[in-house]
């Protein structure tokens, strides 16, 4: 009778193995898109960590929305491959008037949107006027974040600080291949900022047809219009096919694209929110690649034959020192803490390979980065001496750090906290650990009130502009930093509007030096963000500002 039991068990094993054998055939190519049997792979499968918040990039500010938007849309300005520097895209060149108030863009000819609409000067003006005339709900930061941040306001608004306060004045199109933007006062970062997907050129026809600005609500939630959920229309190499929320976004090649179409004819973004699950999907052969690889996974993936591609870092991780805390309001204490931290060891022990030690609050790739700032080299003896001078040899300090979070600039906050704590204790400082979950507790505590001491935070830049870093941190008084230094605020905010590029760079370099003298925090590192791919993915265009368009990728051996 035992035999029957064995038959059942044996049958199970055989069944599993049979399905498995058949299943492993799927990695030998399966059915190729377009039905060309025997042709090379032309579908690129890249795991996204979440849904796009909106397919209309004008209403987005998150990486996953921009990842999709980069394939469908193009802006007037792109970036030089592999750098953060502005480069021609839909505008072949531009002239800026001496007073910095008039930008003349010379547009590429023979470009069409994916719905057949011509791209011309009128289309450019249509887009600029659209952004400036957002009203009501459209002006909330969760939607038009970047237009607000860069332009500073709208044509009209219920909110006083946004009402007519923008730099943008008007736009005219003297002919099909020219668009002229008029500003009310200079905005030197405009060209760099135009490389953001939020300022992509979108088809005026489609925007109107699918009611792009009709964000409504029916008593429960604001509802994105049809344009932003199913009809995004740009000039890029890929056109939108479908979006199943929580499942996948699918794009396919736009045959009328003005540039090189390349080998990839179809892009699928399966949505896999868990970082471990993304790695496993790559190992199981479900996907071709994914982003935000954990530092701990890099070596294992490389050993298993996968490729690791690094982006040049465009971020900064810093230790904030909140001066609402009287001990930290003492410059000598802040200097002591800066000298106590062994940044080289911190980077070697806790951050991904290739990470650079930071000296400024901006990465070296940014124009205003200053090589000659005060650097506060690792010197425990000096730290002890400074503490003694300040009469704080028995200092006890709260150290806030976030848990269960991995950001590109901060893949392992707990480890960074541990390393810095050891350094501080070594010079006689007693650290009181205050861990909090990232969202919303940690951010609320740091940005929403004065109750914190030392803290870890950072920033990933949007485009090549120093203000985009130090303006965000030190443009005015804030709960995070707890100090009032009008001189510093003015230096930073004035630098933002210096029309001459060279003069502006010098002003930013001076501002960076002033920040490091005042030492509101310690810039720690510029961690390297990594991507992982199957071995046969070639030519992924890794970019510090994530300007990564998939038409240059080749698949197969």
């Amino acid at each position: 009778m035992r035999t029957r039991w064995q038959i059942v068990a044996g049958g199970l094993v055989v069944g599993l193995a049979l399905t498995a054998c058949a299943a492993s055939d799927r990695e030998a190519g399966g059915s190729t898109a377009g039905g060309e049997s025997g042709a090379g792979r032309d579908t690129f499968i890249f795991a996204a960590s979440g849904d796009p918040s909106s397919l209309d990039p004008a209403f987005a500010s998150d990486g996953e929305s921009f990842r999709v938007a980069r394939q469908i849309f193009e802006g007037l300005v792109g970036v030089e491959p592999g750098t953060a520097d502005p480069a021609p895209l839909l505008a072949e060149s531009w002239d800026v008037s001496d007073d910095g108030l008039e930008y003349t863009f010379h547009l590429k000819d023979d470009v069409t949107f994916q719905d057949g609409t011509d791209f011309d000067g009128d289309a450019v003006c249509f887009n600029f006027d659209r952004w400036n005339n957002f009203t009501g709900v459209l002006q909330s930061e969760s939607l038009s974040y970047y237009w607000q941040k860069v332009n500073g306001g709208f044509a009209s608004s219920d909110v006083a600080s946004l009402n007519g306060t923008g730099k943008y004045e008007s736009c005219e199109a003297p002919d099909a291949t020219t668009a002229v933007i008029h500003l009310q006062s200079p905005l030197p970062e405009l060209v760099s900022a135009l490389s953001l997907p939020a300022f992509s050129m979108q088809s005026p026809t489609a925007l109107e047809k699918y009611d792009a600005d009709g964000v409504t609500g029916d008593g429960e939630a604001p509802v994105l219009p049809e344009y932003a959920t199913s009809h995004p229309t740009g000039t890029g190499p890929y056109t939108f096919e479908s979006w199943s929320p929580g499942e996948e976004v699918v794009l396919s090649a736009y045959d009328g694209y003005w540039g090189e179409q390349g080998q990839v004819r179809r892009i699928v973004f399966p949505i896999i929110s868990d970082a471990t699950a993304r790695r496993q999907a790559l190992q199981a052969g479900d996907i071709d690649g994914y982003d935000l690889v954990g530092p701990a996974d890099v070596v294992a993936l490389e050993e298993a034959g996968f490729q690791i591609v690094d982006r040049e870092p465009f971020n900064v991780l810093y230790l904030g020192m909140n001066q609402a805390n009287p001990d930290l309001a003492d410059l000598k204490v802040r200097q002591a803490i800066a000298h106590a931290i062994d940044k080289e060891a911190l980077v070697a022990q806790t951050l991904p390979e290739g990470t650079e030690v930071a000296s400024n609050f901006v990465p070296p790739a940014v124009a205003g980065w200053n090589a000659d700032v005060a650097t506060y080299d690792y010197d425990p003896d000096k730290a002890r001496a400074l503490l003694a001078e300040a009469g704080k040899s028995d200092l006890t300090i709260d150290f806030n750090y976030p848990t269960n979070v991995s950001r590109p600039y901060m893949p392992t906050p707990e480890q960074v906290f541990t390393a810095i704590t050891a350094d501080l204790e070594a010079v006689g400082i007693t650290v009181n650990p205050v861990p909090d979950p990232w969202n919303p507790e940690y951010l609320d505590k740091i940005q929403g009130g004065p109750q914190h001491g030392l803290h870890l935070l950072g920033w990933t830049g949007d485009y090549n502009d120093t203000y985009n870093f130090i303006g965000v941190f030190f443009g005015g008084t804030s709960n995070e930093w707890g100090f009032d230094n009008p001189e510093l605020f003015t230096a930073i905010n004035d630098a933002r509007y210096v029309a001459d590029v060279d003069a502006q760079r010098e002003a930013y370099e001076a501002a960076n030096a002033a920040i490091l003298d005042f030492l509101p925090g310690v810039p720690l590192a510029h961690p390297v963000p990594s991507l992982a791919f199957k071995a046969d993915v070639h030519g992924y265009p890794a970019s510090p500002v994530q300007d990564e368009v998939y038409n240059v990728i080749t698949l197969g051996d």
Binding site: D51, E220, G246, A277
Partner: protein, 334 residues
């Protein structure tokens, strides 16, 4: 019979009303509040106030509840803040995926559970029996989540036999007239699409089906042991029926009734287990969408999906009870 159905349906109304009150209060108690969920972390106080006024979040709770209920009764489950689409549409778009997964899991549970339980009972007290009892004990105690991770790690990541995510190979282009992927492939004659969908179902269905499998095996074993010693079995043997005939016709037939009741009861388990299993395997059904909604504070989806799942659950149970009434006169309630 009709009276039974009507009475059960009438009972459903207060149950769902109670559930809707609980859901409404729970969602309002989530951190951040609805406006923050809509506007994100960087919302200014003014913007929050605007949204609260616009959508009535500043009105008294009872008034908000009544408004919401009124909408529900008109079949309006609101709109997902995450996707901007009606909650009802999102539900029906994903329902087939979960049904397909649950059905395959049930086939696994029944197909393995019944033979296992029967074998154990026939060899009561011997090694086979101990092994089966131990296996089913393990099956009930092991968390679905852990088992799902284990299966994925072993068969997808280490051995590469199965995919680790999704319903279909992303590079495959297939049409889905019914949204039941295996069936779609058969209907459209895209055999490889159908096979691919089935392959994607294996691991999640194993993970989801293990607890029901263990329970079914245990009940089958107990039931067969019970029936073996029944008078009518002895009578059948005494009448000279062949042992094989007794085994298949008399014992199995009579032992299957309690087992079929158990199978009906597993539906609820499958629906709740689907949330975990679908999340681990990134399997795009209602369970995963619900888990995502928790993460994204998608209020309308949380409220709507849980209510809809409750309705489905209640209706399935009702259908199961009615069918027993038809199969076995003894279960009919007076």
């Amino acid at each position: 019979m009709t009276r039974l159905i009507l009475r059960r349906l009438a009972l459903l109304i207060p149950t769902l009303l109670g559930l809707s009150v609980l859901l409404f209060l729970w969602v309002r108690a989530l951190p951040g509040g609805p406006a923050t969920a809509l506007l994100g972390e960087r919302a200014t106080p003014e913007a929050v106030e605007r949204i609260n006024q616009l959508y009535g979040f500043d009105r008294p709770l009872p008034q908000q509840y009544v408004t919401w209920l009124g909408q529900l009764l008109q079949g309006n489950f609101g709109v997902s803040t995450r996707t901007g689409r009606p909650v009802l549409d999102e539900f029906w778009a994903r329902f087939p995926a979960t049904v397909e997964l649950s059905l395959v899991a049930l086939v696994v549970a029944v197909g393995i559970g019944i033979p296992l339980g029967y074998l154990a009972a026939r060899h009561q007290g011997r090694l086979v029996d101990h092994a089966a009892v131990f296996t089913s004990l393990l099956g009930v105690t092991i968390p679905v989540f852990f088992l799902a991770f284990l299966l994925k790690w072993l068969f997808a990541v280490q051995l590469g036999w199965f995919p680790s995510t999704g319903r279909q190979d992303a590079a495959m282009i297939a049409t889905h007239p019914t949204r039941f992927y295996v069936l779609d492939g058969l209907l459209t004659r895209e055999w490889d699409a159908s096979w691919d969908a089935l392959v994607h179902l294996v691991l999640p269905a194993l993970a989801l089906g293990t607890i029901p499998l263990a329970i079914i095996a245990r009940i089958t074993r107990a039931s067969v042991i019970d029936v073996q010693h029944a008078d009518y079995v002895r009578t059948a043997r005494a009448k000279g029926l062949s042992p094989a005939h007794v085994r298949s016709r008399v014992i199995l037939h009579n032992a299957m009734l309690p087992v079929s009741t158990t199978i009906g009861l597993q539906v609820g388990l499958l629906l709740s287990g689907a949330v975990l299993t679908e999340t681990v395997f990134a399997f795009p059904g209602i369970g995963k969408f619900l888990a995502d909604a928790v993460f994204n504070l998608d209020y309308a989806v949380l409220q709507g999906f849980i209510l809809l799942i409750a309705v489905v659950y209640a209706l399935v149970n009702l259908a199961v009870d009615v069918s027993y009434g038809l199969i076995d006169p003894r279960t009919r309630t007076r």
